[in-house]
């Protein structure tokens, strides 16, 4: 190990650094939940590998038919597609969980604010990549979502209009999916880069080690391995018995020329879809999504606590926010009453714009 590290480090500095992590000292007794980013990285690797196989057989001009071909004609194709689907589902689950944990312990404050901003960027990237994947399926729901979005994008002017034009290429047509496939792959690769950066930034922001220090190998390696194995168990459960969990049946129908009036999104996009749907017009939806992500991004400045540990009120509010987002997804997927998405969306913005500055200021005082 020692010799190898020296040999590697003198030739490829980056890789030598990875080997160094194995010997890096850590504070003892860190909870397994701190391993979430590593698990997320493993899922991204699964997504990239399965995605590489799918791209080979995917035909953007006959999206739905080519995916049917992968499931029915390509040997093992159904399995690879399921890896991709289940991997995406679990990646979102872990990222949401990770963000929630950072919120709960106020881990977004300096000196970790840069890491936090990278995690939010990762969220934005994955949301966009996930939406593109939804669209690339060539199903009814994805097509309708694309249709609405690109129609709204053509009404944007100035710089946003130019960006939208460059991204979507105007009205959806035969080549739109080919263009979006490129972005789907590019953004996924960016996500890998962002997750590496975020981990590096989070490591730098860790407090200085004091007292007893334990080595990563074998103490934390054993913990990471147990966590990874549990994740694989969950993966296998979904893969074998609920591969379409939270996906709905709408996108299994091939896209027709007409957009459907009500789109059902995969579960990981529903909270955001519900939040966007509250606002009038598709242009309004786009801006609502941008605003929601921007608020998360601005959290280090909205928090006025100046280093005070999170108090009881703040923790309660953070749990409420998590419930709020869950409920937003649930009631968007199965609407039960009017005004509910409006109320939940209001709470989301109220939480960040009013409650967070107020409560953190009071707790710091």
């Amino acid at each position: 190990m020692e010799a190898k590290q020296g040999w590697l480090a003198s030739r490829v500095p980056g890789l030598g650094c990875v080997c160094g992590l194995m010997k890096e000292g850590r504070a003892p007794g860190v909870c397994w939940i701190a391993a979430l980013p590593a698990l997320l990285g493993a899922l991204l690797a699964v997504l990239l590998a399965s995605g590489a196989v799918i791209t080979v057989y995917y035909n953007p001009w006959h999206a739905y038919a080519s995916l049917q071909g992968i499931t029915r004609e390509v040997r093992g194709g159904w399995l690879v597609l399921s890896y991709h689907q289940v991997g995406a589902s679990l990646a979102f689950a872990l990222l949401y969980l990770h963000l929630f944990r950072i919120l709960l312990v106020r881990g977004y404050r300096a000196p970790a604010e840069f890491a936090w901003m990278l995690w939010v960027k990762l969220l934005a990237l994955l949301l966009l990549t996930g939406w593109l994947g939804f669209v690339l399926n060539g199903g009814e729901g994805g097509y309708s979502s694309l249709f609405n979005t690109s129609n709204a994008a053509t009404t944007l002017s100035g710089f946003p209009g130019a960006v939208a034009m460059w991204f979507l290429g105007g009205q959806p047509g035969g080549s739109t999916l080919a263009r979006l496939l490129v972005f789907h792959v590019l953004l996924a690769l960016c996500a890998v880069w962002v997750i590496l950066m975020a981990r590096a930034a989070a490591r730098k922001a860790r407090p200085m080690l004091q007292g007893r220090v334990v080595p990563f190998w074998p103490v934390y390696a054993a913990q990471y391995f147990a966590a990874l194995s549990a994740l694989a168990l969950l993966f296998a459960l979904l893969l074998g018995f609920a591969p379409h969990w939270g996906q709905g049946t709408q996108n299994a129908i091939p896209a027709a020329a007409m957009a459907v009036p009500s789109i059902s999104y995969p579960w990981y996009l529903t909270p955001l879809a519900g939040l966007a749907g509250v606002f009038p017009s598709v242009t309004g939806h786009i801006w609502a999504v941008v605003a929601a992500v921007a608020l998360l991004y601005a959290l280090p400045w909205l928090d006025r606590s100046k280093g005070a540990p999170p108090g009881r009120v703040y923790k309660l509010l953070t749990w409420l926010l998590a419930l709020d987002v869950l409920a937003l997804g649930l009631f968007t997927a199965c609407p039960i009453g009017p005004m509910l998405p409006e109320l939940l969306t209001f709470w989301f913005f109220f939480h960040f714009l009013v409650l967070t500055p107020l409560v953190t200021m009071m707790e710091a005082a």
Binding site: P28, G29, A65, Q68, T71, R72, W78, L79, S82, V214, P218, V219, A222, Q223, F225, A226, S229, A230, A232, L233, F235, A236, L237, L239, G240, F241, P243, H244, T249, A252, I253
Partner: protein
């Protein structure tokens, strides 16, 4: 030797099992493909194909399937060749095992066209059971419902009015395996066939999933125990 001795016994046992099975799947309704350990009931799916071919194919296509795919249901290559040869394509030639299922001439009934059935089970909430309920859900419209022209009442269909007519009846087909072709039996069989068509890998998926779950459950236990031991010593 042992194999030769046991095979007929085994086959007889399976047949008896299958026969006993076929009797009680309708009340209460049960599909072998349902649930975490479900697998496609090949005998039922073969009968279901007969129903599709005899009744549904005149209106509904299944464009994602080839005749050769039927071998996965236990039809022999000769049987599949026979099935394909009996299908006359639009240009007058006979189909081959490599042909896609024949597309029926397009029809428009009451403003609706019959959807392709290749993936219908994946495309409807409720899946297999919905198909069964739909096919057995026709009946006289209850009082208070006025049917649109060209529509029929169907209790399972959203809105209750559908332009597809009630096409199944007792003995609409004759089953090769001697099963009594009641209307409910036909509906259940074609539902199982459509379940296979939508997800041809259902049985394989459950088998792979089960093995993977057992493996990773075991690995997780070992990994957690190992971690505990290491942490007790070093942590």
């Amino acid at each position: 030797m042992m194999r030769r001795f046991f095979a007929p016994l085994l086959a007889a046992g399976l047949l008896a099992g299958a026969a006993a099975h076929a009797e009680d799947t309708l009340s209460p309704l049960k599909f072998q493909s349902e649930g975490a350990f479900g697998s496609i009931d090949l005998a039922a799916a073969q009968r279901g194909f007969a129903v599709y071919q005899g009744v549904c194919a005149s209106c509904h296509g299944m464009g994602a399937l080839h005749y050769r795919d039927l071998q996965a249901l236990g039809f022999t290559a000769e049987q599949v060749a026979g099935i394909a040869a009996s299908v006359k394509l639009a240009d007058g030639s006979a189909a081959t095992p490599d042909s896609h299922f024949k597309e029926p001439a397009p029809v428009n009934m009451g403003g609706a066209t019959p959807p392709d059935l290749s993936s219908i089970v994946a495309q409807r909430p409720g899946g297999t059971r919905y198909i069964y309920n739909f096919l057995t859900g026709f009946g006289p419209a209850p009082a208070g419902i006025t049917l649109l022209p060209g529509h029929n009442y169907n209790a399972a269909f959203p809105g209750g009015q559908v332009s597809m007519p009630d096409v199944l009846r007792d003995n609409a087909v004759t089953y090769a395996d001697g099963t009594k072709a009641t209307k409910a039996q036909e509906a259940a069989d074609v539902a199982e066939f459509l379940t296979w068509a939508s997800d041809p890998n259902l049985s394989a998926r459950h088998a792979v999933g089960l093995r993977a779950v057992i493996f990773f459950a075991f690995l997780t236990i070992v990994a957690v125990l190992t971690k505990r031991r290491i942490w007790r010593q070093e942590g």
